[in-house]
Symmetry: C2
Subunit: 393 residues, 2 copies
């Protein structure tokens, strides 16, 4: 295993003068501190002795019920027994890896894809085969070709890892038709889909699209989402929704991982939902992040040289920019740090070694002023890099 | 992987009429709810935006500093950089498994030993070789013989898993001389010792003995302890102390497991320590648990038939009883449940299939009345079992 690029970057970027577009952090000013304190007071008053004790491995039943109820509104028709509360999505990804992957096994993922997923799956010595994305997310036609080819070679892919909504890092959304096609493929070839959905609530200017899990008539989808982006990452709370058989396996696996998820923060999150505060908070997050997305996109227009392209994300936390031919964003990173601005280079999200011209830019964490100033610095860095390159040619 | 016996038992024992000696739970009345609320108020006031955010994988620096300082008092001379904060000891055990164990590898542990350790290590398909205990803990003479024999067969044991103080489940303490001998063995054969120390602070009537790590002049010991037994298990906070090389590896591993430990409860635990509340609370726990230990031991004298033996634990949370020949505590468990009393049968703690006459009895969780009544019920169950057996013979 190698140290996660993002975690390493986080260290570099602890210099307070650096404007960091590197992390995937919510804006700290968004945290509903007073509301959470109110919830905690209630939890301590009424459930203190249970909230500070060990809990069941599957997670607090009231919280699982609340999640099942919310899921029903998204057309995922489940019971609380189908939900597991994990210590963050990363643990859910690790659990998927631990259940499915032996050394040398193959799993499929996007090109690009979330690097925490890459880390989790590679820690089980799996081979990850990348499926290219376009503006509508994972290319399901190439996916099907790849599956056929693998099966012909007697390789059964253990699962397909997909982030269908506001994909990390690419920002794109998979339309409903493609989601249905994914289910068709899963049904036809009896494959598991791991649907990672941390961002769908952080939606600015597109209609809601049902999760892949909503179309899952064959029980092939392991859905996962998290409180990290819509409440607090410090609480380390995420959840999975899967078939009874897979849920049972994941619970057994989680027992050996950490016995149970933090009971105390589960109680707080449950109280926060019970009060109806979560939906209000999500609305506030949209209002906070949408202008930030706009500032970043406008600044890119203003400061980035010609030849840079970027898909405008309609939600989530990231913009994904591609720079002109000849620039390696991994090498350029040191120049950027010198100019006090940080990003994550595209290769980190590519399982095939590609992505050298791309970079992921987070717009949720920085202040509005930092967003403009940081993009200005980054534009300069790119400009200089291009000039140097011209001088050489 | 099979479902953890304890977790399964916990489900059975959710019947409120059952008096459960099965879990390893702190007494819920011990939780310092008001003090914790005070800490939370301070954390929210002064660190809200950081406490609700992602943290570093290694853990909150202030908390690691506080732990390093406490460790120094125990003659473990370390820096905060040698500490990792884990999401509970189980995660530290899982991390050790993930780093050291490939399928077919061998690790050594006590006979009996903590079943969460067995679960974690077996999930990596390791072979666990048991080393018998006596009243002074692991038999280091047998350990050395076993190591020699394994090495002769070209099998290098990946580590030795030891719980030296108030061993779970046996309750025994390893004296200093044997701890030093363990270090000698580790140094001579270049072996890793995993020292699990959740209970040493829950000490009633014996002097403190330095941890094995205090004698570790060769950097062979991975020490781990937890806030679960001395503050709150719901907070899911534990820590490791190890050499820089092993610490680095464990951090990389933890990145893929869950990115970081719960930031919020780390801040709370740190504030609790900063105020000097932890040592006071530990004193209260000793005062609460010592009479409970006495009630259980007295009740055992009173209600258990002749031929039952039990080592009187001088700390921790468990008594370990051995019943007369011919009783299988796993089979007897159903009778016990019918009589509304629960325990964990001895086989669960044995990697060699042994322990059928033994049982682990927790004395920290129950009320004083429940302790007496539960032991009475259990005495009856054993009595009946012996009578039935006599009738058959």
């Amino acid at each position: 295993m190698r140290k996660s690029v993002i975690r390493e970057l986080l260290k570099v970027t602890q210099d307070p003068e650096i404007i960091s577009f590197a992390g995937g952090l919510p804006n700290p000013r968004s945290f509903p501190i007073k509301d959470i304190e109110g919830c905690i007071h209630n939890v301590m008053e009424n459930h203190g002795e249970v909230a500070l004790q060990y809990g069941t491995t599957q997670g607090l039943q009231e919280l699982r019920e609340a999640i099942a109820e919310r899921s029903y509104k998204e057309c995922i028709d489940i019971q609380d027994d189908d939900v597991i509360i994990f210590s963050g999505s990363q643990q859910a990804l690790d659990t998927v890896g631990k259940i499915f992957l032996n050394p040398g096994d193959t799993a499929l993922c996007g090109l690009p894809t979330y690097l925490g997923g890459i880390n989790a799956f590679r820690s089980y010595e799996a081979n990850l085969t990348g499926i290219p994305l376009d503006k509508d997310g994972m290319r399901v036609d190439i996916l099907e070709e790849t599956v056929k080819k693998l099966l012909k070679d007697k390789i059964i892919p253990k699962f397909i890892y997909v982030i269908p909504t506001f994909q990390n890092p690419a920002g794109v959304i998979m339309p409903e038709s493609r989601r249905k096609k994914l289910i068709d493929i899963a049904n036809e070839y009896d494959l598991v889909i791991v649907e990672d959905d941390p961002y769908s609530k952080i939606r600015f200017d597109v209609p809601h699209i049902k999760p892949i899990k909503a179309f899952d008539d064959g029980g092939h989808v392991i859905y996962m989402s998290t409180f990290s982006k819509i409440l607090s990452p410090g609480f380390r709370l995420a959840w999975s929704i899967a078939s009874p058989e897979l849920t049972r396996k994941m619970i057994i696996c989680k027992q050996a991982l950490d016995l149970c998820t933090n009971t105390f923060t589960q109680f707080i999150a449950n109280e926060f939902m019970r009060r109806g505060s979560l939906d209000l908070h999500i609305m506030k997050l949209r209002e906070l992040y949408k202008p930030k997305r706009d500032i970043m996109m406008n600044a890119m227009d203003k400061y980035f040289p010609d030849g840079c392209t970027c898909y405008k994300p309609h939600g989530g936390m990231f913009a994904w920019a591609t720079l002109p031919e000849g620039i390696d964003t991994e090498l350029m990173f040191l120049d950027a740090i010198k100019e006090k601005v940080a990003y994550v280079h595209g290769k980190a999200f590519h399982v095939d070694g590609g992505g050298e011209r791309s970079m992921r830019l987070n717009f949720s964490y920085s202040t509005d002023e930092q967003l403009d100033e940081g993009m200005k610095r980054l534009g300069n860095v790119i400009e200089k890099k291009l000039e140097k390159r011209k001088a050489v040619l």
